[in-house]
Symmetry: C2
Subunit: 416 residues, 2 copies
């Protein structure tokens, strides 16, 4: 059973938005055993929509389309669908009533444009959108498949997929299992990793497919199984990952979406240790990464974004004369920030960053990208300097990652 | 002149990664006048690559392909390209030397796998990748167009596009201008906005295409002009946006990627005012949004992520007895946090958040999503409560947006 995902909108083709809808739809289809064979993005043009949808329906059993269902003139998806399926439009009174009520709750007047959202192709099954004003549409295709058109607003699409489309697809088709599991490694370059595990890779059973996904300091290894019964596939993948553990155990971060901050989180929770963070150039990014994890309040005492020199002194006790002498971006100030936030927040461990995120503020001696990172622990503190690139957001993200990595290494040592 | 962008990788089709490469490539092609007619994502299968690339080359002048150029066995793009163009592989000594040097600088041994990255189809022009180990490839297509294959690592792809591909495309083809300009509105629902500006929309010249892009509290209006000389298109768009200013001036946030935090940034810089932030449930997200903007150090004094009750008292002077009496998520504590950070960071304005981000910690009286937001100004402080959803990351992001919006409204009042 194969599917096409088609996103409609000029905004995708000119690079104005990042398409996350198709990511979510792909995951949901995979989870019920439907293989996504292709993803396509096209513009708001009747010709492109007609050609692309017709071709996709001819090739694949399931076609999921998002976008182009808004109330304004540039939204033409449903009129084009009526032409493709050769039917008239009908006015759906139930949907009109729903739209009217929804807008009333939000204090918005019901307009002719909203009314037009209840106009739907006669030959489709309406998919009631409880969370928005654009209903979804389900069409049966000539070859016995389904074409589903959904609004592009992400949480409306999510709701329609979860509550209506996925259950209908499961009820209608007999689907085979697809299993994907990902193991996250850190600290080994892709080519070295591939050599270290080549014997393991060569011995994988034929039905398991291995993929390498590299990112800075991280390589993700994904094993995928198609058409194999879920439980035995999962058992075999688990066995294979256990074998990998013997080969590269020290470099394994975890599974699926595991991150280094999650590892730190787990260690801190397990050992009952408290964390504090002092950030200058990373501006709250490190704090937000930890506090994004449910349960962070068990150990995250406080973060201080000491952006100004005064706040470094007033909030963290950095000595003004050291800022004067060494500069705010210096080993001395980084150490005092880490030690200061550890003290004021009553934490066991603290990390600190101070650097030049640019684009202004660099010098020959301290170019943009220079970042000092410090860690303060129950047994002392230390600092390192790393150049973290040239682009502001890259510098912020890399410096955050380095600092979290530094903390992780320290905690690992402490645990042994 | 039209283009296809094709991204290769099973990880895209199973929804494991969000494709941002095609967003960036689309922008770059648009900027030199090449219309992106479609974007396609396919898996690491020789058959899918062969069919899709051949069809795209037949339809469009320019085809940009990313992904599948890594050193591991799942990367098959270049071998498939050699078959499509019916040529053998050659070993590029210059690239091998570069790869060897690059790895040496990073302290990584040169392996057979790395060596294989210098193996390239004979009939392509090598695009030297100064920043990575996978060279790009340029093929001339039978109909006089170009097919370009680039590595999927974003910054390597960016470099090759900017430094080699875009200049080559500009040199080879006579390209027409494409102009896109976007105006950001806030606070008017899409359907009401469409009615308020319908006379303006109807009077737009034929060569300007209007698109509506809604998001929570935001509608973006994009005007696009194709095949019109850039300067006159830009002049006309500017004139049209001026007309819109008369209709909905109070609701205009700005242009292109403008955000509410950018508006706050501009006002604070212009008036020489200082800002501080105290965050509990938003965990550093508000601080990171401001400090992501170049020049934030002009006004951003400090942020305090007072996650624990102790840190609310110790760092911000919140009264422990009020936390005891009203709870940490309360009007009283939000106000004391805002006033406290304003005082300790010596700022003119301060905002604070305290709420229940979940998934744990909710109660009947204060369910997950309850967030108190406060603002402290030179002339007093106030707080509001808003329920910000049910999902942790949604709550963090919405509460951050509400608090920034609250500050913006306050600054706008103050400026009048």
């Amino acid at each position: 059973m194969k599917a096409s995902i088609i996103t409609i909108g000029d905004e995708i083709l000119i690079g104005q938005i990042v398409d996350t809808n198709s990511v979510s739809i792909a995951r949901k289809l995979n989870s019920i055993g439907i293989i996504v064979a292709e993803k396509l993005s096209i513009g708001d043009s009747a010709e492109a929509i007609t050609t692309t949808l017709s071709e996709a329906m001819a090739k694949h059993d399931v076609v999921i389309v998002t976008g182009g269902l808004g109330p304004t003139k540039d939204d033409i998806t449903k009129f084009t669908l009526a032409k493709i399926f050769n039917c008239d439009m009908r006015y759906d009174e139930r949907e009109a009533e729903h739209i009217c009520q929804l807008l009333a709750r939000r204090g918005i007047a019901f307009t002719e444009l909203n009314r037009s959202q209840a106009l739907l192709p006669e030959c489709c099954t309406t998919l009631h959108n409880a969370h928005g004003t654009a209903p979804g549409m389900w069409f049966d295709t000539p070859k016995g498949g389904a074409l589903v058109s959904l609004p592009g607003v992400p949480f409306e699409m999510e709701h329609l997929m979860d509550d209506i489309v996925i259950p209908r697809l499961k009820a209608r088709y007999e689907l085979h299992d697809i299993v994907h599991r990902t193991l996250i490694t850190r600290g080994i370059p892709e080519s070295i990793l591939a050599e270290r595990i080549s014997a393991w890779e060569d011995a994988l059973p034929d039905y398991l497919h291995l993929a390498y996904l590299p990112a800075p300091n991280i390589v993700r290894l994904r094993l995928s199984a198609y058409d194999i019964e879920r439980e035995s596939a999962e058992r075999e993948i688990e066995r294979q990952f256990d074998l990998l553990h013997n080969l590269i155990g020290d470099n394994i971060v975890g599974f699926e979406g595991a991150t280094v901050e999650q590892l730190v989180h787990d260690i801190l929770c397990e050992r009952g240790l408290k964390l504090a963070v002092a950030e200058s150039c990373t501006g709250g990014t490190i704090a937000s990464r930890f506090t994004a994890i449910p349960g962070a309040s068990q150990y995250f005492m406080a973060g201080v974004v000491s952006y100004s020199n005064e706040s470094k002194c007033d909030l963290l006790g950095v000595r003004p004369e050291d800022i004067e002498r060494y500069g705010a971006v210096s080993e001395s100030v980084a150490l005092q920030m880490a030690e200061g936030v550890r003290r004021v927040a009553k934490a066991d461990y603290a990390i600190a960053t101070t650097g030049i995120a640019g684009p202004a503020g660099g010098s020959a001696e301290k170019p943009v990208g220079t970042v000092w990172m410090a860690i303060a622990t129950p047994s002392g503190s230390r600092a390192v300097m790393r150049n973290s690139g040239t682009d502001r957001s890259q510098i912020i993200n890399r410096a955050s990652a380095y600092a979290i990595e530094m903390l992780y290494e320290e905690l690992r040592k402490g645990g042994k």
